[in-house]
């Protein structure tokens, strides 16, 4: 039987304070007029419950921007593989970002498995938070079927009129509920209110694209030679912002950093971007994606085409971050619609 509990709104601050005593809590915090970021909090007051997707997705905790994977001692030729992690609770993860984490999980548990990622993921507790309305016009979460929770969390909060109703999804979630004794069992009225909210949501959230979810792959499969890519390539400045903020972009580079003793150092992996000119360059100087148009096309194919073959899933979550951050006003919804329009 599914378990739901209720937290009174007046107890929210107390809940976060108690949670922060159990382990480090990170949550969305307002940074600017329309910008939010996940960062450490100790009280509920610091948290922006109504937030549009954060600048960087929670990916930064699962796959840090820079991570040491090995330490070395050159003189002794000793290498020690290492794992870096933090035991944290992420509070307030929207359904789009829960989907993003699910995508990353698929990638890093695919054989050969990435032990650094897998251990780190298991040290993170995830508390989701439902969007009752759209964040802004750039989201396409309904088109990607990520506007309703679909697992991937320990606890999931939905805001009702004067309380939060919480879905308890894992043993870890249950442990939190038990240890912080501010919760009461959800009654029929609470559950009814949740159901009404979801029904209302289905009216508010409508496919933001001109194409059905199941038809998106075909649109991209048939668009390799589309003129749309040329138009996007002409706008793109190859800054790589879109891939940095994407919750499912996971490409990386591996580099060595020498300490000042010129003997010991670290091998690190850092986020990389397929939008960089030399990303697909080989020793002879040939690049397989020299044109920006081809690099943008590659980015889109990696969201809507290739992962469906490999993981049976779209790797676009509909969060809208790439559109929000793009300096050249390349808009995901416009791109998809233009490609689909061409095929009609």
């Amino acid at each position: 039987m599914e378990k739901y509990v209720v937290l009174k709104k007046k107890d929210f601050n107390d809940f976060i304070a108690k949670l922060a005593l159990m382990q480090t809590v990170v949550a969305p915090v307002k940074k600017g007029k329309k910008s939010f970021a996940f960062q450490e909090v100790t009280t509920g007051k610091e948290i922006a419950l109504q937030y549009i997707p954060t600048i960087l997705p929670p990916k930064k905790y699962f796959m840090p921007q820079q991570e040491t994977i090995m330490k070395f001692n050159k003189a002794k030729f000793e290498w020690t593989p290492v794992l870096e992690y933090n035991e944290i609770t992420i509070f307030g993860v929207h359904t789009c970002d829960l989907a993003g984490i699910q995508c990353l999980n698929m990638v890093f548990t695919n054989k050969p498995k990435d032990i650094n990622y897998i251990v780190r993921k298991d040290k993170i507790t995830i508390i989701g938070f439902e969007c009752n309305a759209y964040c802004d016009e750039f989201a396409s979460c309904a088109a990607m079927d990520n506007h309703i929770p679909n697992g991937g969390y320990d606890l999931f909060f939905t805001e009702l009129n004067d309380s939060f109703i919480i879905h308890v999804n894992t043993l870890m979630g249950e442990k939190i509920i038990e240890e912080i004794s501010l919760f009461s069992k959800a009654n029929d009225d609470n559950l009814k209110e949740l159901e009404e909210l979801r029904t209302k949501k289905r009216e508010i959230f409508k496919n933001e694209l001109n194409t059905k979810h199941s038809d998106l792959k075909a649109v991209f499969e048939n668009s390799f030679n589309s003129k749309v890519w040329k138009d996007i390539g002409a706008k793109c400045v190859a800054c790589g912002n879109c891939t940095n903020v994407c919750p499912t972009c996971y490409c990386f580079d591996i580099k060595d950093e020498m300490n000042l003793d010129f003997n010991t150092g670290s091998r690190i992996r850092v986020w990389d971007s397929c939008q960089n000119e030399d990303f697909a360059k080989v020793a002879g100087g040939e690049s397989f994606r020299e044109e920006r148009a081809n690099r943008q096309k590659h980015r889109y194919m990696r969201k809507f085409n290739y992962p469906v073959d490999k993981f049976s899933r779209y790797f676009c979550t509909g969060c809208g971050r790439c559109t929000r951050t793009c300096m050249a006003q390349i808009k995901l919804k416009e791109t998809v619609n233009a490609l689909a329009e061409e095929k009609k």
Binding site: I254, G284, H298
Partner: protein
């Protein structure tokens, strides 16, 4: 941030000692490497390793020797073309390097058995192809006719001259070579490697063509092979990409839904035909 040592990791490097190093041309250097504790690399022809120098970095390099030649060591040829390879060129016998691998799918030696083989090597392509050529020569009776076509820019760029001479002299190997630009001492063919293909006498149904060369070469060589009616599945290619991780994650070697480091680097032409950005 908590940092703990790991017992297992895909990134662990093994200690490799350079037991022989030799400058081959202005740009290429040869290394024979043995792993610590007499460990055998246990590679298939066509696979690659990640080689590293602490503090400089890591790069993917094809294994050039056949596993049939020696078990205790393996050979690499490194072109000076980046930061890591430049540093490798400064190393000599006795120096140590880090080795990960072998990675990827090499040439399907069992599928090739009993068939005629047409090797087409352009430029540095001879480096990985040499592992298969020597494998076949060492198991010569398991294979049909063996044809080797070799192309290089100038006679001075030719790698493994002594070995090439032996292939040329063998009665059970048909060997032809061409250079793009001749020099006064050159007495052989001049022209692109594609010019050698029409003249080779092949039993099409049982011939596998194995092609390795710079990315630009493939389109032209494949066109010639298809003109000779070699079936697409009997054309094998090794694709060059700059792998950073070798374990199908970093994205640098991606071709469509494939990761070249795991699914390749060897593909049959029918696997990648029409695939965007593959060739």
């Amino acid at each position: 941030m908590i940092q703990v040592p790991l017992k297992e990791s895909e990134y662990i490097v093994k200690k490799g000692t350079i037991i022989r190093a030799k400058k081959m041309t202005a740009l290429e250097k040869f290394f024979e490497i043995s792993l610590a504790g007499s460990e055998v690399l246990d590679h298939e022809p066509g696979q690659f390793v990640m080689i590293s120098i602490p503090g400089i970095g890591e790069a993917p390099i094809s294994v050039s020797s056949s596993p049939t030649t020696k078990r205790s060591s393996f050979e690499l040829v490194v072109r000076n073309s980046g930061i890591l390879t430049k540093a490798l060129h400064n190393l000599e016998a006795g120096d140590v390097v880090g080795i990960r691998g072998p990675f990827g799918h090499g040439f399907p030696t069992n599928i090739l058995e009993g068939n005629d083989l047409l090797f087409v090597a352009g430029g540095l392509g001879i480096v990985p192809l040499r592992s298969l050529i020597n494998f076949v020569i060492d198991n010569r009776r398991d294979y049909g006719k063996v044809n080797i076509l070799l192309g290089c820019k100038t006679p001075r760029d030719m790698l493994f001259g002594d070995e090439v001479k032996q292939w040329e002299e063998r009665l059970d190997v048909n060997f032809q070579c061409t250079v793009d630009r001749s020099d006064p001492d050159w007495k052989g063919n001049v022209g692109l490697i594609t010019s050698l293909i029409p003249g080779v006498n092949l039993d099409i149904a049982r011939t596998f063509a194995i092609v390795v060369g710079p990315p630009i070469m493939y389109k032209f060589v494949i066109a010639e092979l298809l003109k000779k009616n070699i079936p697409e599945r009997q054309i094998l290619l090794s694709l060059e990409r700059h792998m950073k991780c070798g374990v199908g994650k970093c994205g640098h070697c991606q071709i469509g839904e494939h990761y070249c480091c795991q699914d390749g680097p060897v593909y049959s032409y029918d696997q990648i035909k029409g695939k965007h950005e593959a060739l």
